[in-house]
């Protein structure tokens, strides 16, 4: 009930808002009410057609493939609501001006009369179809028609009332706060819908490898009780979620927050997204870590394990007696990855950095794909490739990197080398390619304890020669190992050249599930 009230409220409010703006912009125009009425009626008719159409397909799908249909409707609703969220975020500020301009143009006779109708009809159609899809999804997910209808009624009355009062100037409302609050609620709702959509696919026998139950909290909070049910529709709470549902939820939530944040960055509006992202990362162990624009230190293996789901955290902290901003600077990355096949592993990261005397800030989102090219031990050397795209969320240029990953076992020793090429792309990018090499050797003493060392060298631009001290060179001891489902490595790297921090402590922690 609550969720349908919120969705309907916001959709209706958006319609009223648009109608209100158009009305205000066309005050002295004859027949404007007629134009708006035509648009309103047309949009409503369109939304009803979509509803009937959905109903027909739903009836046809009865029995066979009902799960797929339910999943499809939920996907569609989640996509549309998510897209509207982002669209409003991006255009909300300019929307008023835009509609006023059109209204003025029509008033002045520069644009056809029906333009007004079209604007209203499109708004009705979009918001209306969202409500329709959402309602079907919720019915499919087991919500009763009564509670859905009650929620929708409350939403319509509330949306019209608030919108009208606002138009008549009877109440003042901070648009910014209004959109922030409802957007935050909708983000969770969309993530919950994605999780439910995957729940249907699992019920239909899909995602066999990712269908195992991650936890069972039904004894604490059953999702068929009143509280559980509300949490279920609002936040997608499930007492016995399948792994794929958890993944879908986290990825949807993360992606939406990142995208909102990116849009926000472009418009330099408020800090909602950043706060959300920072909150997410604050849930991570308080840490350590490194600095400057260079990344956390990790030597990648060329191996991919199919069905491995990995939650990863990397952090580093640096100290330097001469360079103040590198003294006490840290960097943290959190990521989630999955071995899609026995040769492809995909991973996404978020990154927070802090320089000395500055606040920590959310600086980047990264996407990585790793390809295992050879079977371990099949050739003299094991080979893999890593491609990475880093979206700078802090105002700098984006980055692409390609890495060649090499590994070789000699008795109880494992050696790995990464050769990387890196280039900035997009706005403010520098036209140069940088090269880096890292090396790791470890002694496989026992699973929980493998001592070794690492060397990390960043040669900077490959097009102009550089002095050793302008390049970044670090080396030091690292201990690797696995404790239960956790893989770790911790190390201390000494700066060998002037442009490297005197010392850097680093740690990587991975939690792995196998399916």
């Amino acid at each position: 009930m609550l969720s349908s009230a919120i969705v309907v409220f916001r959709e209706v409010f958006e319609i009223v808002l648009i109608v209100g703006i158009v009305l205000a912009a066309t005050k002295n125009m004859p027949h404007r009410r007629k134009a708006i009425a035509i648009g309103f009626g047309g949009g409503l008719l369109g939304a009803c057609l979509i509803a009937m159409f959905t109903d027909t397909i739903s009836n046809m799908a009865e029995g066979v493939g009902q799960e797929y249909f339910n999943a499809g409707v939920l996907f569609a609703a989640a996509l549309m609501i998510g897209w509207t969220l982002l669209w409003m975020k991006k255009h909300g500020r300019h929307m008023k001006r835009h509609f006023q301009d059109i209204g003025q143009a029509v008033s002045d006779g520069k644009a056809p009369f029906l333009t007004l109708s079209a604007i209203i009809a499109l708004a009705m159609l979009r918001e209306g179809s969202e409500i329709v899809l959402f309602s079907y999804g919720m019915l499919a997910a087991g919500q009763s028609t009564l509670s859905l209808a009650t929620g929708a009624a409350i939403g319509i009355v509330g949306g019209v009332a608030v919108g009208t009062l606002l138009y008549m100037g009877l109440i003042k409302l901070s648009m910014k706060v209004f959109f922030q609050v409802t957007s935050a609620l909708l983000i969770f709702l969309v993530a919950g819908m994605m999780s439910q959509a995957f729940g249907f696919l699992v019920a239909a026998g899909g995602f066999e490898r990712l269908s195992q139950t991650v936890w069972d909290s039904s004894s604490i909070l059953n999702d068929s009780g009143i509280l559980g049910k509300s949490l279920n529709t609002m936040f997608g709470y499930t007492a016995r979620p399948a792994a794929i549902q958890v993944i879908a939820y986290v990825l949807t939530l993360g992606t939406l927050i990142m995208l909102m944040k990116l849009i926000e960055k472009d418009f330099k509006i408020v800090k909602a997204g950043q706060t959300a992202a920072t909150l997410m990362l604050a849930a991570l162990p308080v840490a350590l870590v490194p600095a400057q624009a260079h990344a956390t230190k990790k030597v990648y293996s060329p191996y991919v394990e199919q069905g491995e789901l990995e939650l990863e955290w990397k952090g580093s902290i640096t100290h330097d007696d001469d360079e103040e901003e590198a003294d006490g600077a840290w960097e943290q990355k959190a990521g989630i990855g999955y071995g899609v096949t026995d040769w492809l592993f995909l991973e996404a990261y978020g990154e927070v950095e802090k320089e000395n005397n500055e606040d920590g800030k959310f600086t980047a989102v990264e996407f990585e794909g790793k390809v295992q090219l050879t079977d371990p031990g099949a050739y003299w050397l094991d080979v893999g490739l890593l491609g990475e795209y880093e979206i700078n969320t802090d105002g700098g240029a984006d980055k692409v990197e390609a890495k060649l990953l090499l590994a070789k076992d000699t008795g109880p020793f494992t050696h790995m080398a990464n050769l990387g090429l890196e280039r900035e792309v997009g706005d403010e990018s520098e036209d140069e390619t940088e090269g880096n090499v890292s090396w790791s050797t470890r002694y496989r003493y026992k699973p929980s304890f493998e001592p070794g060392f690492e060397i990390h060298s960043d040669f900077g631009s490959l097009s102009d020669g550089s002095e050793f001290d302008e390049e970044e060179h670090q080396a030091g001891p690292v201990i690797y190992g696995q404790l239960g489902a956790f893989k770790y490595d911790v190390g201390y790297l000494v700066g060998l050249s002037d442009s490297t921090p005197d010392g850097e402590g680093k740690a990587n922690l991975e939690y792995e599930w196998h399916f």
Partner: protein, 110 residues
């Protein structure tokens, strides 16, 4: 520097694909009812060996060995290939990560 870098990467890749495996000795392991058959597999020491693992169970299994530094997931009713060696003489235990109580075995290099 750029040229040196490019050349070194290129030659590393070439090295790998030219140094392709000599015809490795081939062996076979079967997984049935969450057990390996045979549970002790003898292979020659000092040679590279290709082991084809046939999983005849409907559920996936992971061939894993810390001593051999290998992990390989094999889906239900399918086969996977693991390359090992050259090994020093000795016993190298392995197990099935998804059914660790029953799926155990060792490779003996002689």
């Amino acid at each position: 520097m750029a040229r040196l870098f490019a050349v070194s990467i290129f030659s590393a890749v070439l090295a790998v694909f030219s140094l392709s495996a000599h015809a490795a000795d081939e062996f076979r392991l079967t997984i049935k009812d969450h057990r390996f058959q045979p549970e002790t597999l003898e292979i020659p020491a000092g040679r590279k060996v290709k082991i084809t693992i046939a999983n005849e169970d409907p559920t996936p299994e992971e061939f894993e060995s810390y001593e051999l530094n290998r992990e390989k997931v094999i889906k239900g009713n399918s086969t996977g290939v693991v390359f090992i060696g050259p090994l020093d003489p000795g016993a190298y235990p392995f197990f099935g990560e998804f059914n660790m109580s029953t799926a155990k075995g060792q490779i003996v290099a002689k």
